[in-house]
Symmetry: D2
Subunit: 355 residues, 4 copies
Amino acid sequence: MPGNSIGKLFRVSTWGESHGKAIGVLVDGCPPGIALNEKDIQLKLDKRKPKGFFETSRREEDKAKILSGVFKGKTTGMPISIIIWNKDSRSKDYEKIKDIYRPGHADYTYEQKYGIYDYRGGGRSSGRETVARVMAGAIAEKILSRKKISVIGHTIQIGEIKSEKFKANEIGHNNLKCADKLAAKEMLNLLTTIKKEKNSIGGIIELIIRGVPIGLGEPVFDKLDADLAKAIMSIGGVKGISIGTGFDVATKKGSNNNDSYEIRRNQVRTATNNAGGILGGISNGEDIIVHIAVKAPASIGIEQKSLNKRRKTVNFTIGGRHDTCIVPRIIPVAESMAAITITDHLLLQESNQLQ
Amino acid sequence: MPGNSIGKLFRVSTWGESHGKAIGVLVDGCPPGIALNEKDIQLKLDKRKPKGFFETSRREEDKAKILSGVFKGKTTGMPISIIIWNKDSRSKDYEKIKDIYRPGHADYTYEQKYGIYDYRGGGRSSGRETVARVMAGAIAEKILSRKKISVIGHTIQIGEIKSEKFKANEIGHNNLKCADKLAAKEMLNLLTTIKKEKNSIGGIIELIIRGVPIGLGEPVFDKLDADLAKAIMSIGGVKGISIGTGFDVATKKGSNNNDSYEIRRNQVRTATNNAGGILGGISNGEDIIVHIAVKAPASIGIEQKSLNKRRKTVNFTIGGRHDTCIVPRIIPVAESMAAITITDHLLLQESNQLQ
Amino acid sequence: MPGNSIGKLFRVSTWGESHGKAIGVLVDGCPPGIALNEKDIQLKLDKRKPKGFFETSRREEDKAKILSGVFKGKTTGMPISIIIWNKDSRSKDYEKIKDIYRPGHADYTYEQKYGIYDYRGGGRSSGRETVARVMAGAIAEKILSRKKISVIGHTIQIGEIKSEKFKANEIGHNNLKCADKLAAKEMLNLLTTIKKEKNSIGGIIELIIRGVPIGLGEPVFDKLDADLAKAIMSIGGVKGISIGTGFDVATKKGSNNNDSYEIRRNQVRTATNNAGGILGGISNGEDIIVHIAVKAPASIGIEQKSLNKRRKTVNFTIGGRHDTCIVPRIIPVAESMAAITITDHLLLQESNQLQ
Amino acid sequence: MPGNSIGKLFRVSTWGESHGKAIGVLVDGCPPGIALNEKDIQLKLDKRKPKGFFETSRREEDKAKILSGVFKGKTTGMPISIIIWNKDSRSKDYEKIKDIYRPGHADYTYEQKYGIYDYRGGGRSSGRETVARVMAGAIAEKILSRKKISVIGHTIQIGEIKSEKFKANEIGHNNLKCADKLAAKEMLNLLTTIKKEKNSIGGIIELIIRGVPIGLGEPVFDKLDADLAKAIMSIGGVKGISIGTGFDVATKKGSNNNDSYEIRRNQVRTATNNAGGILGGISNGEDIIVHIAVKAPASIGIEQKSLNKRRKTVNFTIGGRHDTCIVPRIIPVAESMAAITITDHLLLQESNQLQ
């Protein structure tokens, strides 16, 4: 199958270019009878909108319109098509640099792969495509909420600055979605500096997925962590993903990495959660913990050196409206990709158990 | 589709339990006319066999038999079925602990998911399943070698000890597959200690994929890095995966993370390779660099606390034959999963370009 | 995967309800560089519009809008989203009968399956959904035309009246798309009578697919004829499909059913074409011949007996605007499904041959 | 995905050549906890064995060996691998004609498609491949029997002779699996004649699928009839498939083709069953009726004319052991493909209804 769809039973397909007429998502396989309206979608979409001083000044209205699959306020089991019209695109900004292979962008690889490339705003490779993922994520989250499953993302690192505390309430109180008030302040200071330098910076996101029932994940290739890894790595700018202890497992011994079982509140639980909620690719009922490495935005205001299509060296500066740091804007996207993945495995698990 | 298959056009399905009659792989979609015999498979299989003092003493002959899809020494385009008979399994070791949920293993999650579980040797969740992946990997590598694409894995970290140099020749000279002679020696010393403690330890693998043509990878969900992430995360014991600079992108600015383009040997190349060979999900012709976090084996000789099926607390010690460290044995598996993924994308790319 | 998509590499997904806001299609996997504009789509769409006196008086403008995947008049390899706004829907006609299980329609099965059903105009089960298939078919035909592959459908039977001659030019000259002028006249007379009776009637379509290269079709389940059978049987109202000699094979002996090979115009050809262009599931270069049985439209103006949702017997008459015979309107849909299937196999075949 | 697998959630993959070492099937997605042993498989396999005087004298023992996925007599949810070793193959018969394109066989199309072809016994295109389908069918039927769903196939036509009565008991009493004793006798007489002529003959099979719950089938492309059409058309030698009234719909008016609803035994039922149990692609609880056109075996003892690989005209006679009529041997295969399809849709339907 071509690459613009994800999920086996909860199948999400996105379409649209950054500066094309519209961006949309098609969700097939949504169970019938789920209450769904445009506000549900809008609520999640609004979380993705740029808000901070360090984020792009492109201001899209991003009004989601549901075109099919919902009847009298409920899903019907039929494909749900949702569309957003692009409005605030400025293609002129891109005319000037359309012949330059921008470092860190996909211009060169798309052009080489397809021989044709909609360079306006990065075309299909633009972060704008994620607006469609978030709309599907909103539907997934509606389904998950029925099962009391939630996905929370927060910023745990920007540059060298790390979040040290987790206060869930704090996440909504700063534009960085950081659960540590003090760290957030430092991070924002850092971003002020970076923005002045016309530079950009990376960071790390943590997802906490709560309430996942035991038993999601399909051995051996479609393990829950494997599918989460793919879904999240498919977000532009993500360069690493880990589960639980993650890369720190390198330094851990079996004796202190194994999570022993115990009874808590009358349930089988693990004493620790180094596994990050997944064992043998299957959820074990503990919180699923995912870490995500996000690179610095490639578009910077500093002069760069590169090649143009005639393979001549050029010095150039990228104009347009860009982000100093995309970590907080990727959070709702990462949450959405996780929600889509969990929903898909929830439906798969239904079919494993013949009544 | 159920979870025991991977790949769209080069489709690999594995089957078999650790202590079942046999283990096998079915490869569908292998192009016709590829020279292939059992020696090709055996060569790669032998790389996965335990060799070091720190590895299990289970000694399987692991003789691969090709049962279909090859005629007069060449692939026919028909499905290739390869089988290995299990011989050196000792199911008795597992009878004693069959009612215990072993920490760090999939006993509990499988039992909860399926209500039935072949506990002998971990059944399907055993590392033994990877023997089937390696056989498919051997076929993939035959195809890739036609295109001069190679996949090399090496150990870059065990516990706190890191490889500091890369000498390709060195990899074959130590049982750790470490490219740094000195680090390898230290790592082996560490493993001697850990083994004495009856404990186990984790580590990190690096894959270098060379010769990948520009243009592999399908936007937007089936990016090359997303598919690599899934394929590799699906290996038991892997807890993290990153591309290029990986988690270090958090601390990097755009100005020094972007890889600028230049002409080298008459080709468009990047001056640096922070992106790790993939931009916008599509290969850019540079080496693809993957880092893989591998946890300490869960089976240790130290007494552990857990629950049994009647939910009673038990203290127990795992007997049987186990590994102190599985990093080197995972290397051929990770190479295989990477080779399978690249082969699949190679075939996908053929179909993108209508002649 | 959910059921609203078809094709492996040329992937077509349709969405939308008969009386919903819009109907659309998403085509993923279209090769880049194909010249495509809205006129190409419109041309095919217009063939599906009701024209004859025996066809529904619902008159939709059906203006196709391409929203993505085309840049400067050419496909980019990105998903192509096409939309049509519904305008001439009269949902009131359906309010009256919304609680009645209409015989021959999908009301009852949808309601039982999903528990919720958009009854307006048959919702998703309406023939209106085929408008989306035709738009995808138009793209497929553009691709096929590059390879000089054509798909021609014509009516070979209405009621007891059979077409006896094949004059390709004649097809465009009557509203029945019948290649036999005389038969067409008789068929139209029959339809006049049936319409007066407020009844409806079935028929048979023949598709002739010309220019298909040798080698399309994937053993053993995805045979070309198997995939054609599925694609065409998925059209509402189709109750049978056959290839070549079809059901008449029952009475044929091997000696006169086998097509012997000979050299014609310097090419390997078969002397006869009982196989209908497909052997062992793979095209052999001869014309592919498909016959399709189409049932009488279920909506008739005659009073019928049925049950309502409270399971009470009711006598009722269906109002609204309906077709006496849908055979000619199904022809462009069947052509489209065939074109989509052939295109998909064309792309699959590219990937079989590693360069 | 390559073509040797079928089904979305109940996924069946077959492998092996007619004269290769073995033939096998891999079934992934079988729910856990189903009682299954080799006898279950053998029972169904034995139905496919040639028995009549009009069938091949190749006598394979066909002993099925289950290699994985079953533990203590029950399925575990893991892939089930089943193998049969080929024993009674006589490849010499094929050496003589290996350079001849046999009319009605797949020699020419395979050779052209793949450039390489295992000509021994037809290789992968041989009817022997269906042995693997029947083994998967046996598993599917075990699952269906839990739900009281059954699939019965019988011969309704051989040459011009049609079955006129349906007596279920009679099916097992003649080698033709014909439910009409008298017709069976006539058919056998016909076969005696045809066999003397060294010729072969076609026929028609009817499948009756009973007990299918309301609601199976996925709109709009994966309709239950569409998936049945594909599954059955994928059997070698099948040239047509129809549902319910089938091709006779051409001559039927809406008023007598529509099945009106009524209450019978307290259930919603249709008064007639022209639809053959499927409306809008979804099962309506009535018997599903499928007709299947089967061509005369292409291998006949009469001299034929064809081309060889050097494109020279040759006259030749096929030796070896062949069938005069394959209709009865295709019945268990068709039953199996139907059972596989229904099982798959049963699992899909589970996942449609989020608990």
